[in-house]
């Protein structure tokens, strides 16, 4: 359990985000956000409650909500579209999630673990969903008809009449230069550092991958000069 000072620090960080005053103007406690919230239909989760906690600066319960509740949000942003005060509970949750990551909270680590494959794809290739991720044996609950035509994935992808889509490991073909530019963005904006704090193993894998791609790109540049 965190000390009050730690919890206060976490709250202050949420409060200090530049978006905070845009996302939270006050609260009429009207419940419109929770009414439209898909998560509230199934979880004991209420955007109204999140807003109330932040609005009343209830640092203990804010910390408590970050242990579990904030991860129930589906980020559909219906709450933001409806709120008569023009708050964005979903946006506030996003800030809280970012702060949870920054503080290496256990809840964030737990949530991220099964999401690792998606993160790996994204950070290394710039697109999350690749055809090779959606295989029947990965998701038995999607049923046996996940594909209506027999055939190996490679051929089926080749049968898509757009050149950039004839890929298997990425959703579309991304040029090497693009990927390398993206790595720079990750580094400069602290995304890689956040990942390192969350999941060191995944970070190591990604870092190796990035190094390899950068080398490949440098080699290619040299080849161009030689030509």
């Amino acid at each position: 359990m965190a000390t009050y000072a730690e919890m206060r620090e976490i709250y202050d960080e949420i409060r200090g985000d530049f978006r905070y005053d845009h996302e939270l103007n006050g609260c009429l406690n009207c419940g419109v956000c929770t009414a439209t919230c898909p998560s509230a239909q199934f979880y004991d989760y209420s955007p109204r409650e999140i807003v109330q906690l932040l609005w009343t600066e209830n640092v203990e319960q804010i910390y408590d909500a970050m242990q579990e509740k904030i991860w129930a949000c589906a980020q559909c942003m219906t709450c933001a579209a409806r709120c008569p005060f023009k708050n964005s509970p979903g946006g506030l949750v996003m800030i809280m999630r970012e702060v949870a990551i920054k503080h290496g909270m256990q809840s964030a680590k737990d949530v991220l673990r099964p999401f690792g494959r998606v993160m790996l794809k994204l950070i290394t290739t710039g697109n999350q969903l690749s055809p090779d991720m959606i295989q029947p044996d990965h998701f038995p609950d999607w049923g046996p008809n996940i594909q209506k035509v027999e055939g190996d994935l490679k051929t089926l992808r080749k049968a898509i009449p757009v050149r950039t889509l004839q890929t298997v490991e990425t959703a579309w073909e991304v040029s090497l230069k693009t990927s390398v530019e993206m790595y720079t963005i990750w580094e400069m904006t602290g995304v890689l550092a956040a990942l390192e704090a969350m999941d060191e193993n995944l970070f190591d894998v990604i870092e190796d991958f990035i190094d390899e791609k950068r080398e490949e790109y440098d080699d290619w540049l040299e080849e161009q000069e030689d030509d």
Partner: protein
Amino acid sequence: MAIHEKSLIDPARLVTSEKLVVDGVDVSGHWNTMILPRTLRDYDADFEKVIQGYAGGENVHRCWQCGSCTNSCTMYGQNTDFNPRYWIYLTRLGLKDELLKDKEIIWQCVSCNRCTNICPKDVRPEGVMKALAHWIEHEGFGEKSKSSIFDEEFARQCLDRGRIEDMEVLTGFFSQTKQISGTGIGGLLDAINKLAWFKELVFRMSKANDLFSGKIMRFLTRTPISAQIHMGLAMFVKPRTKSWGRTGDVLRQYIKEQKEAAHG
């Protein structure tokens, strides 16, 4: 895959088949788990009238949810789940299922009437608590509460003889609630034997500690001996109110008619 926010789901709303194969695909366990929504889908418009038909519930419709009753409630101080304002709200909208979730505590109202005293709209929340407890019993949603057993024993003596005998009410209540066996003197001794708090109460009331510690004079001057003798006698000789006659039967008949008129 475990649901990360599982503690936010009422277990009764999680549906899972441990072993399941559909269309040749093994989807055992979490692969087939479904969650049932917790949305409230309707009101029972007649329920408020039902509660108004019970003694004490007549003014439930006046409530405007200010919360004074709950704020002032003796029981709320002990247990924040004891929330008269909330139950009154549920009653008004007919959210019976929600109400029944609290059926084990509603009867605990101690009838201190602080709520009724403070209520700005004269809802008489204390009466509503009583009405709800009776409705729960009457509809068979819960076992007969201890407070009802007590009330019934109390009422029985009133109706039989036009008065009550404290010790008889107590031992009757204890034995009917299976806390002791037997009534009368035997029951009393059993209660002293089995119920530590009761023993303490009897000793303190009778200043028996003075007697055992040798302070005889203090015992004699401070103990209401005559009252004790009176209570003791009343265990054997049960006095009736003068000219009570058939009054009890008439009252019983009246109560029966009233109940029938209220609840069919």
